[in-house]
Structure formats: C-alpha cells, structure tokens
Symmetry: C2
Subunit: 407 residues, 2 copies
C-alpha cells in the first residue's frame, strides 16, 4: 500500500458538515487502497478568533510562546473531530498533535522551522490500519513547548511529514483545483497546469501565486516530495509539483505570476560615489525592509544619479522614514515613493535552454504601450515592474504571446 | 515563600476582561509574597460548545480518546491567555498543559484518574520566579494520549498539584464565597462556615452541596491538602477545609445538605426468603444503578414483605425496567416508583462523641408533621428521606434546631 499524505485547509473543515465530507473523501481514498496520513488546519475563522484574543490582551505580541499555546488549539479540535467522523463511518483513525506526531521545531515561536520529524508513532498507527490525523501548523520546541510554524504552515507540516514517511505523494486540498498558467480571474483562457517543477512553483509562489506556501515548496524540493494541489470540492486531478525529470516536454514559459504588493522608491540626486548602494541599502536592511528590484540610472552630468528600487507596499512609509533619517550620511536630493506599481513575471525552466523569452516580453508590452519601470531576471524567470493600472492588460498580452491560452 | 495553588473556574475566566481581573488578583497575591501555581478551567461555555461538536458527529460517544483531544483544548486557551495577561502587567508566567505539567492519569478517557504528578517542570518555573499556570481537567495517559478527568475535574487537578508541590494551601475560587451551613437560597440565616473537616466536606459534597467536587475533597483528605473555598469576585476569606486537629472546637452539627436527585422504589409482595436482597440488588448493580438508602418492612403475615430503596432520579425508569425483567427470578407482586422525594442530611464530626443528634432530628421533623420514609446514618451524618414538598420546611426547622442560625 502506498502512503499518501493529504492536507485539508481551514475552509475544508470549516464546520461539522464539511468535516463529514472530508471523512467521506478519506474513506473513498482508503477504499482505493491508499495508506493515509491526513494533516489538518483549524476551522476557518478559528485561528483569527484565537489571535484576536491574544491581541486584545497584548497587541505588541511580546509573548510568542503563549501565543502559540493559545493558537495551536484550533488544529487540535479539528483532528479530534475528524477522527470521530471517520470512526462513525467505520474507518479506524487516530489523531496526533504536533508533539505527539514527533514534529520537532526550533524555538522561534510564531514562525518556527521544522528541524526533524520522528514519525514512528504515526507510522505505528498507520501500520495498525488506522488513518493517522496530524495537527498542521504546529510542533514542539527543544524546551518542550508548543510552537506554531506561522500562517499557512500546515502545508509545510504536510510536506515534511510526507518526506518523513517517504510518502508516494502529498496532496494539498484547497479551494482551487490546481495551479493555473495565470490567475483565471484575470485571464479567462488560463489553463490548469498538469505538472510543474519545484523551481517553477517556487517562483510562482514567491511571485504572487497564492495556491501553495513558498516554504512548503522549498521543503518538497529539498526532499523530493511529489506534491499535488487539488480541490476538496470535486474529484478532478489537480496539478503535480515534481522534479524536472518527471516532466517529459517542457514549455518555455509555464506560467505568469503577478504581485500588487509592490512599491517603488526613487532616490533622486544621489552622489555617484563608491559605496553609495551600501549607504542606502544598509539602513533599510537593518530595519528589516527587503529590497527587491534595483535600477541605477546614470546621470547626465556624471556627478549625480537616481537610484530606483522596490519594497513591499506595507514597508513604503517606513522605508521613506529610514531614508530621511539617513539623508546626511547618504547624500541625496529627495525621495519619491510610488505605490501604484505591480510586478509581472513570466516563469519557466525552458528559459534555460531557450533564448528570446525576455525579448518577447519586452516587445509584447511595448506593442501595447506598457512602460517598463524595472526589470529583474533569474535563470527561470523574467520580472518587470509596470504601472499598476496596466497589470491585467500586461498579463493577458503575455499569456497569449507565450502560447498559454486554452484552445 | 509559601507555595499556594489557586484554581479559577469557568465563570472566572469567561472572557478577556475577567481573565484580566484574575491576572490582577494573582498579581496582588504575588505581591504579598505567595509563590503561585494557578490552575484554570476553560472559559464558561467553551467545553459545552466542544462537547456539542463531538456529540453532533457521534452522539453515542464511542471515541472517548478523541473526545478528550477536542475537549481539552478549552483549558489550553485560558492558560495561554492568562500568561499573556500577567506578562502585560509585569508578572512573569508560564503556562503548562496537563502533559507539560506531568499530570499522569490512567487511560480511562473522559473520566481519567490522576495516578501521579511529576511536578518538576512546574517547580522549575516557580523557582525561576514565574507564576506557573496549569490547565485543569486534563492529563496524559500511559499511552501518551491526552485525557480529561471529567466534569469539574479542575478542582481535582488543583488539589493534586497542591499535594505534589507540598503547597501551604489550595484556594478554589468560585462564584460563591464559601461553604455555608446550608443552602442560603433556602435558609436566609445560613452562616458561612469558617473551617470544616475533610470528612464533613466529603459528606456535604456527596449529599448535595455543589461547591466542591467530591473527588477533589477525597484527594485533599488523602494527602492532607488544606483547601480554601472562596469567591473570585471579592476579597473576603472563604471556608477552610482541613483536618480535624486544625479545628479547636467542633460543632455537633456543622451543616445540612439536601438532594432532590432522589427516587424511591418500593417492591411489594417480596417473598421473605434468604438471598432476596441479592436477587433484587444484583441485577441493578449489573446495570450500573447505584442504590442508596434501603428499608425492609417486615410483613404482617411473615411470608411476604416490602422492600424500599432509593436510586438517583435519572435511574428510576431504568431501575423499574430491570426489576420487571427479573420479576420471575426475584418473585414479587409489583414495583412502585416515586420521584417526589428528597434527602435531607445533617452532618458533623461532633456526632461521634455526642448522642442525641438523630433524636433531635426525628423530633424536630415530627413536630412539623414531616413524615420520614427512610433513614440512613454514618458516623458523622444522619440522612432522612422525606416527601419533596417538605424539603425547605425540614431544612429550616433543622437549621434552627441545631443552633446554626446566624445571630
């Protein structure tokens, strides 16, 4: 019997009826011969309610360990309920909290990293013919305290358990039925991707596609866990996230991602001297502000220049303040902030062996009159910064240009 | 610094404001120099909600282990929240689930018994100057699964922890301010008892006074834990439950308890033969029905007799059915069930050395025209069964007769 890990998110276990529906699906999979380990989130809304109480007492969040103690109860409720629901339809099951499932993490409460899993108790239950049901999103610290992995950490729990159990596959059930070539709300002709590589999925996730958490993809890639993203509301196959050698023929471009969580900062009248980048980006980094795309414009007079870069939209006011505080040491005329920009990215491992992807992108956008504010590239993606109003137009044009439209 | 264990029930932690109020009270006690271990229940209503979900899935309650997994989350929420509330007012604290606090139980899920407590982790936290906050009502089974102690088990958790920590005292905070000579809703002149012995409290609790759980009193008596019952809504001293030698002068009668949860069964026309009691009470016991008071009336003809006994009111229909099923083997004419009876008990360790307590009771009731259906006695209590309508009258008359009325 092949071991399958299944993960159901908060909307899939939002109430008793949905928990019953998950139990029925688990039963069908088991009847087909799968040996199942099921990872659950809390009921949709529960974690927010628990976090709300914590914040009501201490908005500053000084006590992350106690935050975890409170917030980790949400998953403990759903695993027990699913075990009961399974038993009432004749499927033996056993629930495990994070610590019972041997999920060891570091001590970074609120966003702990999984350090290792001793899945022996889970394995024993499965060997006895039970469905093992494990609380996602949580583990135990070296000090024996309950930790949480941070929002969306249940995906990571599931993938890490699949690695520890040497599972055939990790199925992530969600409210969409797979990974699409781009957001179907923007491009009606977007197609569901049958198979995508870890590297592409990693870029898709970090560039804005919200279907899988970046961390979980990284863990899957590291341990070679085959991941399937599929819907908990129908029975169709979803998207497989696998290693490159499982995919026979590669598209040059696999998908198009976008993010509106971008802001552009232009520092005008910068003295063109060695060390100027360090003078600007040092203080930002010390204040925990991540800088993404960077463009340095040469000046006409050879003395002063402009430096443009992007930060996440939420960081814009803080970044402007930090720069102002360091105006003396950096030396510049003024800072222009602009949060009406978006990042559009084309992604595909086929780019490695095919030239001309960036050229097609620039030409397509230019033909639609879309101005490019900044460019960044990696081996398997090209990102451009455009004015936010052009986001949908850019995505649709590129989707067609790379031959991604459904027939 | 003397160690004090405090236990707060569900109404004391029912919402964020009340949790803040508990934190303030804990801080005041700590400022006075107490080294505190605090045991909490779930927020009032939470356990019912969780049990409701479990019952919605499986009304028969086949999976007690998973029931415990779900239901034990309520206390985990309140301990984390109180730790946060304490920290925000400058009191270092650390929360412990049952398993983290080393509360080992047997594997009887839903009503587990505490087998032992390894309080070393709790002790370390307290030695570091922290308030230890422990989830009541829960522990861990020999198989490493979460257990619950059954309704009201938090009192037992608190007393057992007080024993393990060799605490000076275990303070049980509740919505009443102590143990009264009788129910103040019935007798306006009821007085708060300053000190009561374990034995008396045990009789009071098992005879109907709901302020402390019988089990917790038994554990306190076994380990010599001094227990105080007091109100979480004011700062008055409550009632101390202690061993006899701590009480200088004993009243003959300390309190009057009553229970309306009684039903009387009369088996008429029983053949008066050896083994008849076994023939009747055997089947009842096999069906889990507890029999309390028993009266055998001698028959006039020396052949047939009537046997009267009491069961809890909820057991009456089942007891009647069981007797009917065994009519042949027992041999009787008919069964008369009556659920309009109540049990009134006078309790006091002073009875051991004072005669006449029962006599005063019978005389007092007789003078008021109250008929006694059955009597049972122990070393420190006399109970009588009366028609339910006379309950209040009987209690008031006895309260006066034994000199318990407040001045």
């Amino acid at each position: 019997m092949s071991i399958i890990v299944q993960k159901y998110g908060g909307t899939s276990v939002a109430d008793i009826d949905r928990i019953r529906a998950v139990a029925e699906r688990v039963k069908r999979c088991r009847d087909r011969g799968d040996n199942l380990c099921v990872v659950l989130s809390a009921m949709a809304g529960t974690t927010n309610r628990l976090v709300g109480w914590v914040n009501e007492l201490d908005a500053a969040g000084h006590d992350a360990a106690e935050h975890d103690m409170v917030v980790s109860t949400g998953e403990q409720v759903t695993i027990g309920l699913l075990a009961i629901a399974l038993r009432t339809i004749g499927v033996p099951a056993r629930s495990f909290t994070g610590w019972q499932a041997g999920i060891r993490t570091d001590g970074t409460h609120g966003k702990a990293r999984i350090e290792g899993i001793d899945a022996s108790a889970v394995r024993v239950a499965m060997d006895e013919g039970r469905v093992a049901i494990v609380a996602g999103f949580q583990g135990i610290s070296p000090e024996g305290r309950v930790t949480t992995l941070g929002r969306g950490g249940s995906d990571t729990s599931a993938v890490a358990l699949a690695a520890a159990l040497e599972a055939e596959r990790c199925d992530i059930f969600t409210d969409v039925d797979g990974v699409y070539t781009t957001d179907p709300r923007i491009v009606a002709k977007a197609r569901k991707i049958e198979k995508i590589t870890y590297e592409e999925m990693l870029e898709m996730a970090s560039l804005g596609a919200k279907v899988l958490q970046t961390r979980s993809v990284a863990v899957a890639m590291q341990h070679g866990v085959r991941v399937q993203v599929l819907s908990s509301f129908d029975e169709n196959p979803g998207t497989l996230v696998v290693s490159e050698d499982e995919i026979m023929e590669q598209n040059i471009v696999t998908g198009i991602a976008y993010s509106r969580d971008e802001a552009r900062i232009t520092v005008v009248g910068v003295k063109d001297r060695p060390g100027i980048a360090a003078a600007i980006f040092g203080p930002l980094s010390e204040n925990g502000i991540n800088v993404d795309m960077i463009v340095q414009s040469a000046s006409r007079d050879g003395v002063s220049a402009a430096l443009t870069f992007t930060v996440s939209r939420a960081d814009l006011p803080r970044a402007e303040r930090v720069l102002d505080e360091h105006r003396e040491s950096i030396g510049f005329d003024r800072v222009i902030g602009d949060s009406s920009v978006a990042k559009v990215s084309v992604i595909g491992v086929g780019m490695r062996s095919h030239a001309g992807v960036a050229h097609t992108m620039f030409e397509t956008l230019s033909r639609r009159g879309i101005n490019i504010h900044a460019i960044s590239t990696s081996e398997i993606k090209v990102s451009v910064l455009v004015t936010e109003d052009y986001t949908e137009l850019a995505i649709r044009a590129l989707h067609t240009a790379y031959g991604l439209d459904a027939a």
